[in-house]
Symmetry: C2
Subunit: 506 residues, 2 copies
């Protein structure tokens, strides 16, 4: 498989963090007493926020209180300390103090029932910081902890994760054959990552698929370029296409440059593709919003726990003359959803594809003073019109599904699939064959003689042994050809519909 030679280490090394808009890289210790640092500071993408780490104070309880204000009331604190002491002193096995207290912190986070609020211990936080310094190698997917399971929010486009067939909402339950039960999100991510060229086998539970899938992903370095663009001529019209893969610090600048280049060419319409884009910096999407959303209209509204909202209003001076269509799918999350909703609601533009992921909250990483960190949900964001899309997603104005074979799970053929079998695996293979124009006769999972003929034809074309039986080689070849077909613009019905709409509109 070919991989782009441009890389995106910062973004993908933050694969866990990326889904959080307003995510600030925490490196220095600054004063953390300001109540709403993110809201007050929307002009500066580099804002660093941290809870004061060490001011020389010796009294532990007092310092925590000084730093953050809320004191545990005495009777409640007494109860917690009593439970702690009993467990430390009397449980049948000795436990490490730190381990118990990390358990306590995780227990508080569990009460919140928020997959985006997580604790990172010193080691994990440090490893994450280290990985920021070097070029990142991994599988290229954003994950979150949802209902206790490590869950794919979205594989990055053209990433090893996407090529291997991982999909949004896949739940990773094993890595290289070992269960990851009990691992934190960050521990799991560190195991998934690894050197370019090595393979990691993920055991995945997929909603609607009864058996666990074992998916081999060949790790790679991940492209750093978050914005790519192209000029397309269709029926005499000039259409600009800008794809945003994630919202990193440089994304808005890159976007602006490429947008202006396209505008110089005199485009008649613009397609913005945020499919499979898991989000990134709030500032980044706001800056892009300022280039597209009509002036005076809100790009996004940030709401704090008291329900107070701050509207971030577009300062665009000249409204765009050309029509815009944004492509979305269930892998479009967070900042992607802000952009799509703003273009739809405030701009009245087309949004084409499928309902987005639905992440309507803002996290910030806060230091706990010993190198460990708390990533905590501090705000909600609402769309231009004030809609909360959390767990709902942004609906397209034009719903367009891709062809069925886009959604097929990888075929597991450890036991070869052959004539007269009847299974989900056979159904997957049939959908793939159909998508590749080898007519399998049926797509209901029964391996008919027509299916066998289609397999033979496929094997013949691929230079494989012509057996009519789907063994591992044939399954891999099917998977490779399907990935190619998915990346062929001719099969991209969402893209095609966007172009149609822009030309009609013109």
């Amino acid at each position: 498989m070919n991989i782009d030679k441009k890389f995106l280490p910062l973004i993908v090394s933050l694969s866990v963090i990326l889904g959080a808009v307003a995510m600030f890289v925490v490196m220095q210790v600054t004063d953390g007493t300001s109540a709403e640092p993110v809201l007050n500071d929307s002009g500066d993408a580099d804002t660093e926020l941290a809870i004061d780490q060490d001011d020389g104070e010796e009294n532990a309880a007092e310092e925590a209180v000084e730093t953050s204000g809320s004191e545990i009331s005495e009777d409640k604190a007494e109860k917690f300390h009593k439970a702690y002491s009993i467990i430390m002193d009397r449980y049948v096995e000795a436990f490490d103090e730190e381990e118990l207290l990390e358990g306590a912190i995780n227990g508080m986070l569990e009460v919140l029932d928020d997959p985006y609020s997580v604790y990172m211990d010193q080691e994990t936080a440090r490893e994450f910081m280290d990985s920021l310094d070097s070029s990142f190698e991994g599988i290229g997917a954003e994950v979150s902890m949802t209902n206790g399971k490590v869950t794919i929010v979205a594989p990055f486009r053209d990433s090893p994760a996407e090529k291997a067939g991982l999909r949004p909402n896949d739940q990773i339950v094993g890595i290289d054959g070992d269960s990851i039960e009990g691992l934190s999100l960050y521990e799991a991510v560190l195991q998934i990552r690894g050197e370019k060229g090595t393979t990691v086998t993920l055991t995945v539970e997929r909603p609607g698929v009864s058996e666990e899938l074992n998916i081999d992903v060949v790790r790679d370095t991940i492209p750093i370029e978050t914005v790519t663009s192209e000029l397309i001529e269709e029926d005499g019209a000039k259409i600009g296409l800008i794809e945003i893969r994630s919202f990193s610090e440089s994304t808005a600048t890159d976007f602006e440059e490429q947008l202006h280049a396209l505008e110089k060419e005199g485009i008649d319409g613009l397609v913005i593709d945020v499919r499979g884009n898991p989000g990134g910096f709030l500032q980044s999407v706001e800056d892009i919003g300022n280039l597209l959303v009509p002036g005076g209209e809100p790009i996004v509204q940030i709401e704090n726990r008291e329900g107070e909202r701050i509207r971030h209003v577009s300062n665009l001076e000249e409204e765009k003359e050309y029509p815009i269509a944004t492509l979305i799918n269930e892998g479009s999350a967070s900042a992607s959803e802000i952009l799509a909703a703003a273009l739809k609601e405030a701009g009245g533009h087309h949004v084409v594809g499928e309902t987005t992921f639905g992440k309507g909250t803002v996290q910030q990483t806060l230091q706990l003073g010993d190198g460990s960190e708390l990533k905590l949900t501090l705000f909600r964001w609402l769309t231009s019109d004030g809609n909360d899309i959390n767990e709902v997603g942004v609906e397209p104005t034009e719903e367009v599904r891709q062809p069925d074979f886009f959604y097929v799970s990888p075929v597991q053929a450890e036991d070869p699939l052959e004539f007269d079998m009847n299974s989900e695996q056979v159904e997957n293979a049939q959908l793939m064959l159909e998508g590749l124009d080898y007519d399998p006769g049926r797509t209901d999972g029964y391996f008919s003689s027509e299916t066998e003929e289609a397999v033979r034809a496929f094997q013949d074309d691929e230079g494989l042994d012509v057996t009519g039986v789907i063994d591992e080689d044939t399954a891999w070849a099917l998977q490779d050809r399907v990935v190619e077909a998915v990346r062929d613009r001719e099969n991209d019905l969402q893209f095609k519909r966007a172009i149609e709409l822009l030309i009609e509109n013109e």
Copy 2:
């Protein structure tokens, strides 16, 4: 269904707690500074142990330290308090202080990875205490929280739970159609309980069964008599049979009385039946051990976290002349396992049936000062010979399985089962029919015409519509007849083998 008219409110109201040997009912506040109250106090079954609740001290942290000794070191405490303050003050939603700290306590318990160490909040603890005062009505099963799931340790014998077909290791995932995800063990138990005559529908995941089962259990009052006995004459030999359903406070006294009555009759052998007995008080099983285990031999060894062992040695003066066989199964847990292992290892007696549950730890309930409680594992116990049976169980000397239909899952017939179907449900029905002497032709899950004939014959005998189709009425009738057959001593191969061994032995 017939239910015994003797009741056991105390035992079963403690259905969650019962599995813990050395479980003391916590009612008064006494001094909790003694390090090993259980070990030092084996002569007194009424020992109450609690952490000092309120000594008028105002300083929370200090009191916890005074009471239990272990202080959180300053930097660790600082970190916990900082995390607490950040979450309290800044998380996007406001949370109750108490809820967060209960989360913290549960988080510490999670670190222990021990299904028997649990936290009970004020309300739950109070409801449990209340239920001790009145006659208890419920389903009659011991449950534990294992891998985050409410799991049946054992249904009590002849209880509604057993009659409805619940089995050890069934995981309860729903109650009356609602998921119980997120509920604590105690919250779940309080929902399972209810008035006699009412029905609770439990949604159950059973190891080895692919689909969830919905099992209706009609609640009832639960017999208080923990010991029943009988004199059996077989081939001219007099065999005493004593069944112990659980180890409550009065169990040892009742056992002694009935044993002496049997001995007066001049028995030639003794069968002790602890199948489906989930355990109870450590003192209770020690007292019974003193009546049966050869003098000078250890009944059980209690080991603390430092690995120090205290041997509880039998004080029996006159060794028993007659042979003894103990009946066990996978529902025999805790105190039952102590007794079976002692009789096997120290007494050299027969143990007949199947490997037991495997619970080798001792819990104690400790008060946290505000009415809430911590049930915590404080000790391990080892068998007479020093074997740790935790998660292993006690193996029988004579392994005997019951007939297949003893292990059949209830038939789910919301959609009627009929000719030419092929499913696990059909297989269950076939095993039941076979056990009831209606030959279904096969027991592989294919609903053949022989199976249809067997269903017709069964329906005819039961006065049901003779359709050959298994609808809900037929499924219930099958279940009822199977329960009767299970309770028929003629089908009890384990019991029969025990009798054979005793007569051979004689």
